[in-house]
């Protein structure tokens, strides 16, 4: 199968993720959307890796997975901290810093 189809799927997933980040209010959902973007990149990497016939893309994808996990962990930690402070869990309500 042509690598193009994988790319189309990957681009679609990336766009969905991007749209989610821009549209959704809840930081949890935003984190999910960021995951979508990262995984779209993973799909592209693996597809290219197959297309070029070398492993670099696969190694890259593995590393991305680890990093994505770290990012989500930190994100969730922050959201929990905010929740415990009774701050609104809504990015539009977090506007204390707009000068």
């Amino acid at each position: 199968m042509d690598v193009t189809w994988y790319l189309v799927v990957s681009a679609a997933v990336f766009s969905i993720g991007m749209a989610g980040v821009l549209i959704r209010r809840n930081p949890l959902v935003i984190l999910l959307c960021i995951e979508l973007m990262l995984n779209a990149a993973n799909l592209a990497l693996i597809a290219f890796s197959r297309a070029h016939g070398n492993q670099e893309g696969q190694i890259f994808a593995l590393i991305v997975m680890v990093v994505a996990a770290c990012e989500v962990a930190v994100g969730l930690g922050l959201i929990v901290a905010i929740f415990r402070r009774k701050l609104p869990v809504d990015v539009d309500e977090l506007r204390g810093l707009q000068g």
């Binding site: 590393i63 990012e71 415990r84 000068g99």
Partner: protein, 570 residues
């Protein structure tokens, strides 16, 4: 059995010496984290920062030790050339100053000393990886290892809403940036079939893929991702909010070190890996640079928070520094290196003064906190004056030579109009830099301006003067409301109570908390907080700005050495 062992244990050839700075930082981070678990408060508050400083100094020294060695390490995943080493020293230097600024800050107390300083060291490590990356994989890895600790560091001042908010904002926007970068890197890999910079440069130099849609979108996405990190307009919107909310020492670190790291990787990617396609990306980047100068300088005018003002000014400075990348000559790289060093020193001096005044006045980072500083505190007034004049590019400071060098590089390769753009941007910047100087030395007028700029009852940004600190003060007074609290809130209260107790146990009175009580008359409430290390940072950085402004030769030598690491310009 032995044969199998012998076969599997065949390791790649690793140049451990060249990895020295990275190893030192990693080990240091672990040790600092463990030391932070000690029971003795004295060990936590004193030993941890001392160990962190030691780690940074050792890492910096190891980097200096291998100057000019240009070692490739880990199968060319990293290259410790002079650019990487110079940046390593710069990051370590910024790290040491940040440790000094954080010593008496509330953020490490809130988050735990071990965690705070360990995160700082990891962030420095990520920067070193990023600045020495020779492979798309290490680019992304370094990028994330630098970013993730910074997200947490921004939020370390747990008792301040602003800090948490800035942490979350930075996390979301930073992650979008890194996702864009990653997708771009994936596409670049797809277009060239390699993750190694040299191989990519070869593929790009071949010219077949120059007009390729895949390749061009890869460049666009990579530029976007890195622009987020370097706060290049129009991807800068997070900068003022995050800078304002984060604890000031962390802001200082982000403003200088992160930007330096981002620019280092921009110059590596664009001036080495894809320099063959310079005609494709240079016009776009030039447009970004000009927009950045404009947005940064215009945005900074009229800010009453000095941190926000410096945030916008750092946006503008990123625009100037991009010029060094765009011209894509060795001279450009040298000018960029020179300017980065100047930028770090100038901003560190300014931020140190802000940290000092935040703790002394209770006015937070508002410009009114600097009012009349010239008469009261010359040791703080001169550093901020010199920093502002240097940022504006006045002569006899490093900023002057930095700008001349950048203009020189721009004109030299036919980008004269970018030189003019730098100059016009600097003219705009005078408005807000001179306003700070006027507040410091000529208080009469500024008083009315500052009061008008910040409406009464606005939330002070200063740590400890937030509504939250009220709670803390209440808690300490034993006035916890009996009912009406949700369980979560009680838990939060409980946490604060513990922390407050711990602080008392430390034998140090966190001066910031006290101020919450009398913040009603913060207007001219000057207390002398004993913080020699902050004053020292300010004075030392300002002195360096002046000294290297009059005798800039050593720095020019460093810049030349760094330029020589770019063999592709021969």
């Amino acid at each position: 059995m032995n044969a199998i062992l012998a076969a599997t244990v065949k390791t790649p050839d690793i140049d451990w010496g060249a990895l020295g700075p990275l190893i030192a930082l990693t080990v240091g981070a672990c040790v600092v984290l463990m030391t932070g678990l000690l029971r003795s408060p004295a060990a936590r508050t004193n030993l941890v920062p001392a160990l962190a400083t030691l780690t940074l100094i050792v890492a910096g020294a190891l980097a200096i030790g291998q100057w000019d060695s240009n070692a490739d390490v880990l199968e060319e995943a990293l290259r410790m050339d002079n650019l990487a080493l110079a940046m390593t020293v710069l990051f370590c230097f910024a790290g040491v100053l940040t440790v000094a600024l954080s010593l008496r800050d509330l953020a490490p107390r809130d988050a735990g000393h071990g965690e705070y300083y360990a995160l700082l060291l990891v962030a420095v490590m990520g920067m070193v990886v990023l600045a020495s990356a020779q492979n798309l994989v290490t680019v992304f890895l370094g990028f994330e290892v630098l970013s993730i600790p910074l997200y947490v560091l921004c939020a370390t001042h747990l008792s301040s809403e602003g800090s948490l908010e800035s942490g979350l904002k930075y996390l979301i926007i930073g992650s979008v940036g890194s996702a864009c970068l990653l997708y771009g890197l994936a596409l670049l890999y797809g277009a060239t079939g390699a993750t190694d910079f040299d191989a990519i440069a070869q593929a790009v130099g071949g010219g077949e893929i120059r007009g390729d849609v895949l390749f061009l979108s890869a460049l666009a996405l990579i530029l976007t991702g890195l622009a987020f990190k370097a706060s290049v307009a129009p991807f800068h919107q997070w900068t003022p909010d995050v800078y304002e909310g984060a604890p000031t020492p962390v802001t200082a670190f982000m403003a200088v070190a992160t930007k330096a790291a981002a620019l280092a990787i921009i110059v590596r990617l664009f001036d080495v890996a894809v320099v063959g396609a310079v005609d494709d990306w240079a016009p776009a980047m030039a447009a970004l640079a000009v927009i950045t100068m404009l947005v940064g300088n215009v945005g900074a005018i009229g800010q009453s928070s000095v941190k926000r003002m410096l945030a916008y000014s750092s946006v503008a400075q990123a625009g100037y520094m991009l010029v060094g990348v765009i011209v894509s000559t060795r001279l450009g790289v040298q000018a960029l290196t020179f300017y980065l060093v100047a930028y770090v020193l100038m901003n560190m001096a300014a931020f140190a003064v802000i940290v000092a005044r935040e703790r002394e006045t209770g006015l937070g980072d508002d410009i009114s906190a600097l009012r009349g500083l010239g008469a009261e505190r010359p040791t703080l007034a001169w550093p901020i004056t010199i920093a502002m004049l240097a940022l504006a590019g006045f002569p006899a400071t490093m900023g002057f030579w930095g700008k001349i060098y950048l203009i020189d590089a721009a004109v030299d390769n036919g980008w004269a109009w970018l030189g003019v753009a730098i100059v016009l941007g600097s003219s705009l910047s005078l408005v807000y830099y001179l306003r700070v100087v006027a507040a410091v030395w000529m208080p009469s007028l500024e008083s009315s301006v500052a009061v008008a700029a910040r409406p009464a009852g606005a939330r002070p940004i200063m740590a400890g003067a937030s509504p939250e600190a009220d709670d803390v003060a209440d808690t300490r007074a034993g006035a916890v409301p009996a009912g009406g609290d949700t369980p979560t809130a009680s838990t939060a209260r409980g946490t604060h109570e513990e922390r407050t107790d711990a602080d008392i146990g430390d034998g140090r009175d966190p001066s910031g908390r006290d101020r919450a009580a009398d913040r009603d008359h913060v207007g001219r409430d000057h207390r002398h907080v004993h913080q020699p290390e902050v004053v020292l940072v300010a004075v030392a950085c300002a002195a360096a700005v002046l000294l290297l402004g009059v005798f800039p030769d050593p720095l020019f030598d460093v810049a030349r050495d760094v330029g020589e690491a770019f063999g592709n310009f021969d």
